[in-house]
């Protein structure tokens, strides 16, 4: 049987290519995303093992607050510890280190680095230190408060000149320095695309952090001790020092080995990247699942077309098993071949993915492609399994062909009892809907996924039953306006409902997901619009995109409020702290200036009720955690001090956060506090042109954040949703391509199957262009069939997701009519495009040989 299977494959190369195409596309995405993730991780890993290559020990504070998304807020340590570390036997050299936010302003006045999710913009210390990776290539090291050294890549990017002034923005404000040195990092110009501004230790502490404090101490050993012994010795010395010096009371440190800090940093980046990796693999498995339908369809059709051949084999003595096995052997070969090609295709795709992200202004460092063994295994196994699973039922069916079928005229696909299918489909859908309703009524939200999956499966089971009536309905306009060709297209799309349903299923899944995501995005955008229109009462806002790292300097709000055109300006920021022993983001405001700029819907309270010993809690959160006005909450900042706060007010609108404290509370801590935004009310009578000019000038001076009018600001908040939407669309695009390929393959096989019919039609006077029209409309009807059912499901899905997210503050479901119409239109175009090649093939049918085939 193996030889028959092999001959079966080689005898029909076209079919081999078509079947493999679905496997190739599915696996290419899988391997592409896997290669991409691995490359990204390796690039960052290499970066950090380079950073800590000469570091044998690493001293830092052990006081840390961890919040969501792996963010952490670590306390700083006194710089005086550096001298203690240097005296420890076994230490060759030690240096203070700071990793803080600093933004270099280019000679054109524009800040360097991507404003958004790009590589970080760092400020750091330049010292003479044995382990240092920074070397001055040109000029000299920064030595005083007026000097800075900048990495070579940034100097080039910002068109900066040695010994000329350059502006740098940090947490404490913006300042001008003289560029005295151009630094290079090991042998690269800039590590991972980050920008670096380097200062002498004193300036760095004062400008980037707090005088007398640094983030950590880098230590190089003299080789006499192992890293572990060295770290232990340092730790002992520091503990002793802290115990004996009263100034150091409360300071807590830990000493890591070089290997530990490298590993920890790599793990942190790894976990941040893993979210992205999971997102990518979710979409690649969706694409592979969509590919399943195409593979299943191709095997089903080819089993039907080979019915006579198989029947003949049965007649001359082949067993059912042998027939099925031959087909499964064919599937194995196609699966392996397709996955191998897909693996190679993934390399190209991973590059395209980098391009896509760069187009969405998510800049990523580039490195050599990493193809791991697990990528290869995952791709080959997934490709093989998917092909075999998809071929399983068609193979079984092929084996069941009665030997008598060899005598029959044409291929007939056995259509299973419609009744069983209808009941099965409806029951599954009903079960899914019941689960969803139960969730809406209050059951656990995790059930939602199962309910939705059941509805999808039910719809696909029901597909062949509804395909015929729906296709006939959708084909009506074609039959009406396109005459006999349209009418034939309509009938063709309905003549084999099972095949049509299978062809339309990938379109259905793709469209349902796109519709759901679009509806979700529209709902979020509508919400953002409502919320900000209602709550933001100002005229302008300065907003920043630097998530987690850095933000707007707190002095920006002060400077702006002093402008003669401005009535009021207030900054809103975020800090991380432990609140009743749980890591939380806490919003920081200035109670004295926020009134009239931002309305959070305080209940029987005023902003002035927020003192340095009090906290506001959102009403929703208060109910959840069981606090009320007057309750006491414990707050622990990164400085290690626990403070008691009284809940002095509750509020309704929790979009800016669930907990609010006054910025003055942080004044006597070392807690890092940036503003996330500055919100401005201009004076009455000041024209928008004048106000804008004055504000632009003030904001440009800082080189941070964008000045936006109220409208622009609200649009920008929605714009963030668009970016995510773009990413998801991009990832769903491959599923759409697979769906298109599915239509192309099915049409080609149908055209092949209907050769005689086409020959007859051509003989009795159908022109080539009429042949094309018929194929095209059949394709359009099939595509629309998937789209229409997909949209119905997608709207349902979107509504359910919006409902599930109601706790996150999503209140209204918005149906994007325009986008929905666009999706229908796009599926129309997809149908037209998919038909191009099959239609061309159909016109090439040779009339005589078609008529003579028996």
């Amino acid at each position: 049987m193996f030889r028959i299977a092999l001959k079966g494959i080689l005898g029909r190369k076209a079919r081999l290519v078509l079947t493999s195409l679905a496997v190739i596309l599915g696996t290419a995405f899988l391997s592409g995303t896997s290669i991409f993730s691995a490359t990204l991780t390796r690039t960052f890993d290499n970066l950090f093992s380079d950073v800590f290559q000469n570091v044998d020990a690493y001293v830092r504070s052990s006081q840390v607050i961890e919040a969501d998304f792996g963010q952490e807020e670590r306390q700083r340590i006194p710089v005086s510890l550096v001298d203690i570390v240097k005296t420890v036997p076994g230490v060759s050299d030690a240096a203070p280190d700071i990793q803080a936010f600093a933004r270099i302003i280019g000679s054109d006045g524009k800040p360097l680095g991507a404003d958004g999710n790009g590589p970080p913009t760092f400020g750091g210390v330049y010292t003479k230190y044995k382990g240092a990776l920074w070397t001055i290539k040109q000029g000299h090291a920064p030595m005083n408060a007026g000097e800075v050294a900048i990495d070579e890549a940034s100097v080039k990017a910002g068109k900066l000149t040695l010994n000329k002034k350059v502006k740098v923005v940090a947490q404490t404000g913006s300042r001008e320095f003289t560029l005295v040195g151009i630094a290079s990092y090991g042998n690269v110009r800039s590590p991972g695309g980050a920008t670096f501004a380097l200062f002498d230790p004193t300036t760095a502490q004062e400008f980037l952090a707090k005088p007398g404090f640094v983030d950590d101490i880098l230590v190089t050993g003299d080789g006499s001790l192992s890293e572990t012994a060295l770290a232990a010795a340092i730790n002992k010395a520091i503990t002793k020092e802290i115990a004996t010096k009263p100034v150091l009371k409360g300071v807590k440190t830990e000493t890591l080995t070089g290997a530990q800090i490298t590993q920890e940093t790599q793990d942190q980046i790894g976990s941040a990247l893993s979210f992205f990796g999971i997102l990518l693999s979710v979409f690649s498995y969706i694409a592979l699942g969509v590919g399943c339908f195409v593979i299943y369809n191709v095997f089903s059709i080819s089993a039907a077309q080979r019915q006579r051949e198989n029947a003949l084999l049965r007649a001359i003595g082949a067993s059912k098993k042998q027939i099925s096995r031959a087909m499964l052997i064919e599937a194995t070969i196609i699966g392996l071949f397709g996955s191998l090609v897909g693996l190679v295709g993934g390399i190209g795709l991973s590059k395209a993915l980098s391009g896509l992200l760069r187009a969405l202004s998510i800049d990523i460092p580039s490195g050599d492609l990493v193809i791991t063994r697990s990528t290869v295994q995952q791709t080959l196994i997934a490709g093989l399994v998917v092909t075999l699973v998809s071929a399983w039922f068609p193979a079984r069916r092929a084996g069941r062909v009665p030997p008598l079928a060899a005598m029959r005229e044409t291929a007939i696909e056995i259509i299973a009892s419609g009744k069983k299918r209808t009941i099965g489909g409806l029951v599954t859908i009903a079960a899914g809907v019941a689960v969803v309703v139960a969730v809406i009524a209050g059951a656990e939200t995790t059930w939602l996924g199962i309910g939705i999956l059941l509805v999808f499966i039910g719809t696909i089971i029901l597909g062949p039953v509804i395909a015929r009536p729906v296709a006939l309905f959708l084909g009506r306009p074609a039959a009406r306006f396109r005459g006999i060709t349209g009418s034939m297209a309509r009938q063709n799309s309905a003549r084999n409902p099972k095949r049509t349903a299978r062809t339309a299923s990938p379109v259905l899944i793709g469209v349902a997901l796109v519709t759901a995501v679009t509806a979700l995005a529209a709902s979020i955008k509508g919400q953002i619009d409502d919320v900000f229109t209602q709550q933001f009462k100002g005229d302008y806002a300065v907003s920043t995109n630097n998530r987690g790292f850095g933000g707007l300097s707190p002095s920006l709000a002060l400077d702006i409020s002093k402008l003669p055109e401005v009535a009021k300006a207030t900054g809103i920021g975020l800090v991380t702290a432990k609140l009743d022993d749980k890591g939380q983001y806490i919003t920081t405001i200035s109670p004295e200036s926020i009134n009239g700029v931002w309305n959070i819907g305080l209940i029987n309270a005023q902003y002035s009720d927020l003192a340095t010993n009090s906290i506001f809690v959102s009403q929703k959160k208060a109910v959840k955690i069981g606090v009320a006005k007057g309750s006491i909450m414990k707050i622990l900042f990164a400085d290690g001090m626990t403070r008691k706060l009284t809940v002095s007010g509750l509020y309704v609108h929790n979009e800016i956060g669930d907990y609010i404290i006054s910025k003055s509370l942080l004044a006597d801590t070392t807690v890092v506090s940036f503003d996330r935004g500055v919100y401005i009310v201009t004076k009455q009578g000041v024209s928008s042109t004048v106000a804008r000019a004055a504000l632009t000038k003030a904001v440009t001076k800082y080189g941070q954040g964008d000045l936006l009018s109220k409208r622009e600001y609200i649009n920008k908040r929605s714009g963030n949703v668009n970016q995510l939407l773009g990413l998801i669309y991009g990832l769903l695009f491959l599923s759409v391509i697979i769906a298109v390929v599915g239509i192309i393959i099915t049409l080609l096989l149908s055209v092949f199957e209907r050769q005689r019919e086409l020959g007859l039609l051509r003989a009795v006077g159908m022109t080539r262009s009429q042949v094309r029209t018929t194929v095209r409309w059949e394709s359009v009807i099939t595509s629309l069939l998937g789209a229409v059912i997909g949209i119905v499901l997608g709207i349902g899905l979107g509504w359910v997701i919006v409902f599930a997210l109601r706790d996150q503050g999503l209140r209204n479901f918005a149906l994007p009519i325009g986008s929905t119409i666009f999706i229908v239109f796009a599926s129309f175009i997809v149908g037209v495009l998919a038909a191009i090649y099959p239609a061309w093939r159909a016109t090439k049918v040779d009339i005589l040989s078609a008529l003579n085939t028996n």
């Binding site: 060709t485 007859l760 039609l761 008529l851």
Partner: protein, 246 residues
Amino acid sequence: MTSLTLTVAASTHNAKKIYGKDDSVVYALNDVSVDFYSGQFTAIMGPSGSGKSTLMHCIAGLDELTEGSAIIDGEDLSKMSDKDLTELRREKIGFIFQSFNLVPTLTADENIRLPLLLGNNKGNEEWIQRVINTVHLQDRLSHRPSELSGGQQQRVAVARALASEPRIIFADEPTGNLDSTTGGEILSFMRMAVDELKQTIVMVTHDPVAAAYADRIVFLADGKVAGEMLEPTAEKVLDRMKSLGN
């Protein structure tokens, strides 16, 4: 029926159809000149490989001659584009094939009107009704081919060939797949189409009984015209075929 009063509906002049190259050339048609007259039922007969199907395909615009010309209604087919040929087949020619004559997704009525529908042509309704009545299909019009018997399917094919009032109808072994009773019925309808509806039919067959329904038989052998017979009977045809080496 004297040939002096007849007009030519279709003809070939020195028609050659050559397959292969150099040493291995095969003459499917070797210098065939033949006329088919309007209002006549002509049969083309000959042993397998005599070139009878090729001759029909070339006159009907389904295949191209290597040399010589094929003319229908005064137009030389060799000078026509694919589009013109398609229109010619649609408007001036009717076809009846041995099997698979009908489009499975269309009803009997749609199949009958297919050439007209493809040409966006309403046709002559009175004529179409007359054709449908002649082949007794009035109560089968809304059925699809799968719901019709083999004989009924061929009757639909005959009706389709007639529906557009073509200059000439070509039939390729129209009864080859039918039992003799049903086949006889179809041939009677074709005879009726010529006698009552004044149509022109050219039929390729190797069945002497079928050929006996024709007014005239053109015999082919080895790609050449091997004679003619007027007012044939099955016996006479059988004798002649024997002499042709069938």
